[in-house]
Symmetry: C2
Subunit: 354 residues, 2 copies
Amino acid sequence: MSDQPEPDEVLEDEEAVVRLFEPLARAAGAFALKDDCAILQPRSGTDLVLKTDPIAEGVHFLPDAAPADVGWKALAVNVSDLAAKGAMPSAYLLALSFPSAPRRGWVLAFAEGLRQAQEAFGCQLLGGDTDRRPGPITVAITAIGSVPRGRMVRRATARVGDSLFVSGTLGDAALGLQLAKDATRAAAWGLSPAMARHLCARYHRPQPRLALAGALRAHASAAMDLSDGLAKDLGRMCKASGCGARVQLADLPLSGAAQNAVDADARQYKSVLAAGDDYEILASIPPAKEAAFRAAAAAAGVAIALIGHTTVGSGVAFTGFDGETLELTGTGWDHFAAGRGDGPGSDGGGTSAV
Amino acid sequence: MSDQPEPDEVLEDEEAVVRLFEPLARAAGAFALKDDCAILQPRSGTDLVLKTDPIAEGVHFLPDAAPADVGWKALAVNVSDLAAKGAMPSAYLLALSFPSAPRRGWVLAFAEGLRQAQEAFGCQLLGGDTDRRPGPITVAITAIGSVPRGRMVRRATARVGDSLFVSGTLGDAALGLQLAKDATRAAAWGLSPAMARHLCARYHRPQPRLALAGALRAHASAAMDLSDGLAKDLGRMCKASGCGARVQLADLPLSGAAQNAVDADARQYKSVLAAGDDYEILASIPPAKEAAFRAAAAAAGVAIALIGHTTVGSGVAFTGFDGETLELTGTGWDHFAAGRGDGPGSDGGGTSAV
């Protein structure tokens, strides 16, 4: 698409915007984005798994975000949900809203990020629409995936006594967002330039854990993706499943960069637990399947960490580094944010004192 | 849902908003809106037909619109596309964005309008999400319908020499929007109160022509719904199909109310031809199938009108009441809006002189 001239050209015509997405819409049922609707022919024996989660400028991405990152992220946040359900994405619909006519260069770069994402995730653009409205740029994607019939991994089916695993590392994206807003934090957190880049990339380019989909279908009693922070999302899984959970702070997987950040400022544990944008997977695994799940994840090349267990009762209890239980409800965060000397990160668990 | 107290209560919690939509999500695959994704099990032998078309406050509905009308319209505009493709709706996903926490009463009324629409159209809410972002209230629906495999009616397949039909009447919604903004026009246009109510209802509660879906599948070489005005949408069908079209102004179907309006002000023909929001169907019918299409439409109880034919070449030519050809491109509208003495509506065709 780089042969298009005049990146500064303002695209007054909405159809001119849509035309820039044609290279992403090669599926027969997309009709090159020239029909009113798209067609999807599901394979027999499969269930379709559907998700729509719009992202908006200033809410889900920064106003100065690179448009290619916006395109990537808009698809990735939806595909992340599919992955957590054990589904593989096949197609998606795009509705793109601009407050004023966009520049060709912005749209082309956005489409390039989207193209990279759809190639990485193995799906295609099936239908696209654009309109003009006040407010932030908004990208509304509906992602469509498939699972063998009856095999979607649900949120509400965790069982008491399950082992709780998360993929990857937590908190990176939330810390990356802080860096994107205030680059001086990198020095305060003792980050190398590579560490700072890592955190920012985790915010701008979330990586849905599609490689884990098969392992989840085979072994998980429940799963969901982490988009609103572990504390909130695990609370949702517990509430839906009618159980509680206990999680050890010391067992939460942190990247080297995030470890530096919480070592430097224990209040950043809030980024790890509650700030969202992780797009990692939370899985509830029956003890009898734990070994097989670990093996399947290893074979898939996805790091997983055991962080706790589901329990009888309700609510999520976090065990701090000193063995104290932290109830992270309401004012629980104030407790954290106060940065007490005996707060998390102040001792044990491999973290140094603040 | 009327047992909910406190319509003025502000719903700070997004999950509290989603809960109000649970009664609309009875399908098994919706998981009562409590999972991250929804499941759809397509019937074998069918193609899924997909459409996403968001509507926004101040753009697609008025800021003081009744929330029940907004709910109805959000679904209707998407279902209208499905109907034009010969598809029947089965399910939809909803993403609802508010600039600030909504009031319970607004959300309940919106959900009630949506409920009325889904019952009228025969589909169910499958997944729902809500978020907070600046800008207008936005309702993004992705509608999913089905057709027998390979039978979706396309836009790009009209053939030269086809007869062009539209369902219902044109321009009512555009005139209704004007009345909603300025009620004094009703008197200027010589409308009875019932006529004024009719036009407003046509704007607020579009009626997708689902009853025509079977007739379209059986007889149409191409079809699309009219959302941006006949002139623009017919132009799109012609461009996609590689043909032109000629349409007779005198043959355009007008309601009694719209007839009064154009009689009183010939410039209102612009509302009939170019102002959009009709949500009627434009169908291109081979001459050999015309009689059968008429019979099928009559059996379905949907009024249709022959308005012209597709032609060799490109572009849409409108024949005025005096036989003159009006080219409605660019300044063509100025030609109309100037309200010349010899303009449309000034003589013949059953309209009285202005």
